[in-house]
């Protein structure tokens, strides 16, 4: 568990976002700590994707504050997010099938010596990063991504996010398309990221995954943060209630505010 006295790595306070008349995020508070996996759950349309896009700077929030390691920041695009150490692994992975693992991991941030690509140094760092994550599933870092399985691709996408001294990695449904064994491998990797000291946000619909790896659960309900709780303090059923009804007993939004 992480040091609770230090400021959280990412803190959102009162974030609002509307698209025309549709109020997608309402006064959302969200806290992510280093060394922890925070699961972000919610039904379809609850605002998970919008929240992530506000964090990554693809959308600008209408109001509210974003603090990274206790400092107020303004994130205006993916590059700003990367600058603050925030990396996002999207559901569709954004890998180029026709490039190999090293080429994908360094895409857009290639290392050069002169004007020529510095392949040896990139390959070395890619191998180190994969080894640091104890990845044993890929045979060669010079394999084309098209030859990889779904789980291996997910691994590469995560390794790509970790490569850049990132402090916060946001994973959008990393296990959605995977089989049982591969899901286990990826979840193990997610856990290892947090154990290595990174802050991890895991977006998932799968309660088994959430309970398997997360330290905290944040449940969104119709654009509001219903509750942010420790995983050990709640049951499976309570989380499902938070997702579907916004409250569960004394937890979550109270009736008058839930409406």
């Amino acid at each position: 568990m992480s040091d609770t006295t230090a400021p959280p790595l990412l803190e959102l306070r009162g974030v609002n976002k509307s698209f025309g008349p549709v109020h997608v995020l309402r006064d959302v508070d969200f806290t992510v700590r280093a060394g922890e996996v925070t699961a972000l759950v919610g039904d379809n349309g609850a605002g998970k994707s919008t929240l992530v896009k506000c964090i990554s700077g693809i959308y600008t929030s209408d109001s509210g504050e974003v603090l990274v390691a206790g400092e107020r920041v303004h994130i205006h695009g993916p590059r700003d997010a990367a600058h603050h150490g925030i990396e996002i692994v999207y559901q569709d992975l954004a890998l180029c099938d026709n490039l190999d693992i090293v080429q994908n991991m360094f895409l857009g941030r290639e290392r050069l010596s002169g004007i020529i690509l510095d392949e040896p140094s990139m390959e070395e760092l890619a191998q180190k990063t994969l080894a640091g994550l104890s990845v044993r599933t890929v045979k060669s870092v010079r394999q084309l991504v098209s030859s990889l399985s779904g789980g291996q691709r997910q691994t590469v996408a995560i390794a790509k996010a970790v490569l850049w001294n990132s402090r916060l990695v946001i994973l959008d449904e990393p296990t959605a398309a995977l089989g049982v064994a591969q899901t286990a491998q990826v979840l193990e990797l997610v856990r290892r990221l947090a154990d290595n000291g990174l802050a991890v946000v895991l977006i998932s619909h799968n309660m088994n995954d959430v309970f398997a790896v997360s330290d905290r659960i944040a449940a969104l309900y119709l654009g509001r943060m219903a509750a942010q709780v420790k995983t050990t303090d709640v049951t499976h059923a309570q989380v499902v209630e938070l997702i579907t009804a916004g409250r569960s007993g004394s937890l979550g939004l109270q009736p008058e505010e839930a409406l």
Partner: protein, 420 residues
């Protein structure tokens, strides 16, 4: 090796139990099965075609016909090299043929009608190509018109521009005193220079391969075994050695009367330089890497911060610029420019060359070398069938079939790599 300890912990590679040579072979086999066939189909096709034509007509494998092959394939190969960039993005340039025609016309007018020096005329001709490429790329990338439509329109329009430039179809000849331009397709390296060229090429390959190997070993990375490097260098040495030896033979029927005719056509080192230049750009620079990325997955490229529009425009600029060079070479070959320069089947042969060589029409896969190998296949078919006395309709049908076959191989290998 001081890095041995890190190697064992770091490299998530093949166990290490295999010998490097065996591992290399296994890796290559895996690539083949995965649908990455590289140069294999084109090289195999080339060997089969050459064998068939040699059996059918002994004149095929004579030194003079070999020299002809290179000069005949020159313009198409150069245009195909530029097309590789556009094809890598999954786009097409149907106007490359007539772009070369326009640029050749510009060259001829400046040289013959205006009396400009050759370097100025060549410069303006290539600049015309670059400007055309910028316009095409702008329309595709910024305006968002599909490249098929943009370049089909340009294909029609440039046909008209060539007619206008050549005053409704007159033929402008390149005079014999334009020695530099004429030399491109009609002169030969002296036998000694041919050997020097071959030696420099082999030495350059050896240095590059060995330096890369040593650098990678220094970092404890997997590298190609020495045996493979030796085979590569030796292979190139043998190939170039045979080529130079054949081309250095006397080809003139009677050297005393018609003058001596021997040596490597000048177009060969020109194509070699262009091949190396664009291969380095494509495989070893950030720009080239981004071309592959845009061709492989536009969305991934965009998220990685790559300016997709800039890459698209650059590819069209390179394609049209190379088409201009192809046009200059065609002008040299014909010693004149007429409304048909770059017309008829030039474009289709060039696209065919790139695809036959192994460049995918779906984008993301291809090399500049493909254009050269495919250009050789197209030139061999044309030349060989001409020697066998087939009429042109057979040539068209056979070339079309080869193109279809290559595109079929491309589509199948693509499906294969998608499945695995």
């Amino acid at each position: 090796m001081s890095t041995a300890t890190t190697t064992t912990t770091v490299a998530p590679s093949d166990g290490g139990a295999d010998s490097p040579l065996f591992a290399y072979a296994k890796n290559y086999g895996r690539k083949l099965r995965g649908g990455e066939m590289g140069a294999l189909p084109a090289v195999a096709g080339l060997i089969v075609l050459c064998a068939v034509f040699t059996l059918a007509n002994p004149n095929f494998l004579t030194p003079s016909n070999m020299a002809n092959l290179f000069t005949q394939g020159g313009p198409i190969t150069v245009i195909a090299m530029g097309l590789v960039f556009v094809l890598l993005l999954g786009e097409i340039d149907l106007s490359a043929g007539f772009t070369s025609g326009v640029c050749a016309a510009v060259l001829a007018i400046l040289l013959t009608n205006e009396g400009w020096p050759w370097y100025a005329a060549v410069g303006v001709s290539i600049a015309t190509g670059v400007a055309i490429g910028f316009l095409l790329g702008f329309l595709v990338a910024k305006v968002g018109i599909p490249s098929f439509v943009v370049t089909l329109a340009a294909f029609l329009a440039f046909q008209g521009v060539v007619l206008k430039l050549l005053k409704e179809g007159t033929n402008i000849s390149i005079r014999d005193n334009q020695t530099v331009i004429i030399a491109l397709e009609n002169e030969f390296l002296s036998p000694l220079l041919g050997w020097v060229f071959a030696a420099v090429a082999v030495a350059a390959l050896a240095v590059v391969q060995i330096v890369i190997k040593i650098k990678r070993m220094g970092r404890g990375l997997n590298s190609d075994p020495w045996e493979i490097i030796a085979v590569r260098i030796g292979g190139l040495a043998v190939l170039l050695g045979v080529a130079v030896a054949v081309l250095n033979q006397e080809r003139s029927r009677n050297p005393l009367i018609f003058g001596s005719l021997k040596g490597m056509p000048i177009i060969v080192p020109i194509i070699a330089v262009l091949l190396i230049l664009w291969t380095v750009v494509l495989r070893r620079t950030r720009f080239g890497r981004h071309v592959y990325a845009v061709g492989g997955n536009v969305e991934a490229a965009r998220r990685a911060g790559i300016s997709v529009d800039r890459i698209r425009i650059s590819a069209f600029v390179i394609c049209s610029g190379m088409a201009a060079i192809g046009g200059i070479i065609a002008a040299s070959q014909a010693r004149s420019v007429d409304p048909n320069t770059g017309g008829s089947n030039v474009l289709l042969y060039a696209v065919g060359a790139a695809v036959v060589g192994g460049t995918s029409l779906f984008g993301g896969r291809g090399r500049v070398l493909d254009a050269v190998l495919g250009g050789a296949v197209v030139a061999v078919i044309n030349n060989g069938m001409g020697l066998m006395g087939y009429s042109s309709w057979v040539k068209y049908v056979v070339t079309g079939s080869v193109l279809l076959l290559a595109a079929g191989v491309d589509a199948l290998s693509r499906r294969r790599s998608a499945v695995s």
